[in-house]
Amino acid sequence: MERVDLFVSCLVDLFEPETGRAAVAVMERRGAQVGFPSGQTCCGQFAYNAGHWPEAWAMAKALLAALDAPPTPGPDGQERATVGLSGSCVAMVREEYPKLLDWAAGQPGWDTSWRVRHARVAGRLWELSQWLNRAAPAPSAHQDTRPTRVVLHTGCHMRRVLAAGGDAAAVLEGLGVSVATPEDEDQCCGFGGTYAMNEPKISTALADDKLRALRATQADAMVSCDWGCLLHLGGRLSRTGVAWSVLHLAQLVDLADRGELAPAQLARAGRFVREVP
């Protein structure tokens, strides 16, 4: 049995814990023994991107220490992976931390062992859809014959930094879900971490363009591997009084596993399904 540590991301922990619970269920159904390194908080990407590297480095050290901690109960010698629930955060740890490490190496208090710990953590870290594509398939209960159509929004870091742009679509297709392709699908949604707060006007103009393209597919739900993009887009839907089912991939796979993937079920399942007057 593979032991899998979950790296949930701060947004899932604080705002969308249901995604974390769904991921646990999904991974356990595929035979994983799921652990949760409880020292984890945030990868520090928001601070890193905004240029606040001392803060980013403090958070990176805390995350590396947490993810590198020895496994809590479990026989020795087991194969071990860490699965992240955000393509952007996984990209941060795998692809951006080396740059942060290079910078930290010139700062007081530097300890070379961080490079070793990073190599260990990054070497076994996967984004959820990457892991699902190589995991044993679960006995899926998805038997509804009516076509369920979702539109997939792939975050820019997942697509371009992690180079895992096709993985989520492959997972969805494996479940028999039809995936709609929106116009300008590789265009940024305007989230950009703290960019969404610093430049709300441009960020929102981008969200509106993205939502127009996503909504035009008339899909039953919008799915992504990043709650950053989803909270930004969903938060915009909410503010403009539009109800739509917005879900993380983990939740969609969980619904498929449970045979609850009919369009009507899907339309009720996500965040932002209730219209706020």
């Binding site: 945030c42 240029g51 590297w53 803060e55 709300p200």
Partner: protein
């Protein structure tokens, strides 16, 4: 030494709002950038050698930047041997003074120019006009914006923000003012024919022709110009004096290096395998030659470039001005080029402008014009590390204390709380208590401080009644999923 660039006196918020409020401009920019980006993708996909050539071109540019001083000396010697005058110029004033005194010596009054972003950067047209010279831009897009008294909004397509209808109206107005027949319709053919007719007269009457250079080959002393309109050939060959104004970053080592990179401006810029015109110039008219200018002057301009050669931003100097990064940039697509406030826009402009002119110059560029989507990194044929540069420029701005004290303190507190699991739990309980006053209908609708901007246009779910950490702690002892 930092360079001097022109700047729009309007503050960032005003420039941004002006752009976002102009739906015609946004529609024009969107359609031009999409067309160019799609053309580039198709051209690369249908050209098996494209990636190999791109990397070879990139490496040629990188080698040249690393050895820029000896290559410039070699270039100067070769060009001088061919009868050209080569001048190293520091910035806008030196360049303008040189051209003005040259014009005085020659008794020149009329100047024609082909497209040159460097002369935009040097604000040369204004300086020459002040000295009494009549300057005519002859690239179609540059001609349009000159008539409009505007600056380029795109590095490759200067009038990208204007559509055919607007250009038709402009040409009608121009025709009436100059007492000539206007374009017969707003189709591309008649519009181009009108411009060609008007420009022909300027070419024939000009005393001085000014061009930029896409590449300068040190080994052979060759000035290379790439255009799709052929206007640069006229500018370089009809007037009796030709002045080349080029950045020191344009130099290449060998002829083989030129061959490696020559396709890139058109391939990455407009999706053509080669530009329609590729012009190679090695000197003024040779004795006995029937054509060409009597004098050739080559100004090699620094304006903030040299200080970058040995640093972490040297790759910015390998930019070939193809505009591929503009065309894929989500922010550029929303606001167009004028919102950036100086000569260069798009990702390369937002990075290069503060590097050339100093971090105090338009300090909003690294922070406000980039979502870090990395589309530019994917598009750049020279593999310039644009996203990394955005982040490290922000880091330098923060490090030099250029940020509001409140923002700085917020990040400091945020970083401190979130780098310790225990403090993070404390943060959660504070935030839960605080958020009660910021909710409506079960959703967060406002927030103080750094997060306020979010809630101008978007809601947020509140912090969950049970975070994942809390759920796991409840579940963990038995290893069973709690209900």
């Amino acid at each position: 030494m930092v360079g001097r660039l022109p700047r729009d006196p309007a503050p960032w918020g005003e420039r941004r709002d002006r752009a976002l409020g102009n739906s015609v401009l946004r529609g024009n920019i969107r359609s031009v950038t999409r067309r160019l980006a799609d053309a580039r993708r198709r051209a690369y996909a249908s050209y098996p050698a494209s990636q190999v050539l791109r990397v070879a071109g990139r490496d040629a540019k990188r080698r040249a930047v690393a050895r820029v001083e000896p290559l410039l000396d070699e270039l100067r010697d070769r060009l001088a041997a061919n009868g050209a005058r080569v001048i190293f110029a520091e910035g806008p004033k030196e360049v303008a003074d040189y051209v003005v005194s040259l014009a005085a010596r020659r008794g020149a009054k009329r100047v024609v120019k082909s497209k040159s972003m460097l002369t935009e950067e040097l604000d040369l047209n204004r300086r020459l006009a002040v000295a009494g010279l009549a300057v005519r831009e002859t690239d179609l897009g540059e001609y349009i914006i000159q008539l409009l008294d505007e600056h380029p909004s795109h590095i490759l397509a200067p009038a990208a923000h204007r559509n055919r209808q607007e250009i038709h109206a402009l040409f009608q107005e121009t025709a009436e003012r100059e007492g000539v027949p206007g374009p017969t319709s707003d189709d591309v053919g008649p519009l181009t024919a009108f411009a060609r007719q008007r420009l022909r007269e300027d070419f024939l009457a000009a005393d001085i022709g000014i061009t930029g250079a896409n590449f300068l080959v040190a080994e052979t002393g060759t000035i290379v110009l790439v255009t799709n309109e052929g206007n640069a050939d006229m500018v370089a060959s009809l007037p009796p004096v030709h002045v080349v104004i080029a950045g020191i970053d344009k130099v290449l080592d060998t002829w083989a290096d030129l061959a490696a990179v020559i396709q890139q401006p058109a391939l990455s810029g407009v999706g053509q395998r080669l530009s329609a015109y590729t012009t190679l110039i090695s000197g003024p008219r040779a004795a006995g030659s029937p054509e060409g200018p009597e004098e050739l002057h080559v100004l090699l301009v620094d304006n903030g470039r040299r200080q970058l050669v040995d640093g972490p931003y040297a790759d910015v100097l390998t930019c070939i001005r193809c505009g591929a990064c503009y065309n894929v940039c989500p922010v550029y697509r929303q606001v167009g080029g004028h919102a950036y406030g100086s000569t260069y826009a798009g990702p390369i402009g937002a990075v290069e402008t503060p590097l050339l002119a100093g971090l105090d110059f338009l300090p909003e560029l690294p922070k406000s014009l980039c979502t870090l989507c990395n589309a530019c990194v994917e598009a750049c044929p020279m593999d310039i590390a644009l996203a990394d540069h955005f982040i490290t420029l922000r880091r330098r701005q923060v490090g030099e204390g250029r940020e509001a004290a409140g923002t700085r303190l917020t990040y400091r507190a945020w970083g401190r709380l979130w780098s310790s699991p225990r403090q993070y739990q404390r943060f959660v309980s504070w935030a839960r208590r605080g958020q009660r006053f910021m909710m409506r209908q079960g959703r967060l609708v406002r927030s103080p401080g750094l997060w306020a901007g979010w809630f101008e246009t978007r809601d947020m779910p509140p912090i969950a009644p049970e975070t994942f950490h809390e759920w796991w702690a409840r579940r963990a002892p038995s290893g069973k999923t709690p209900s």
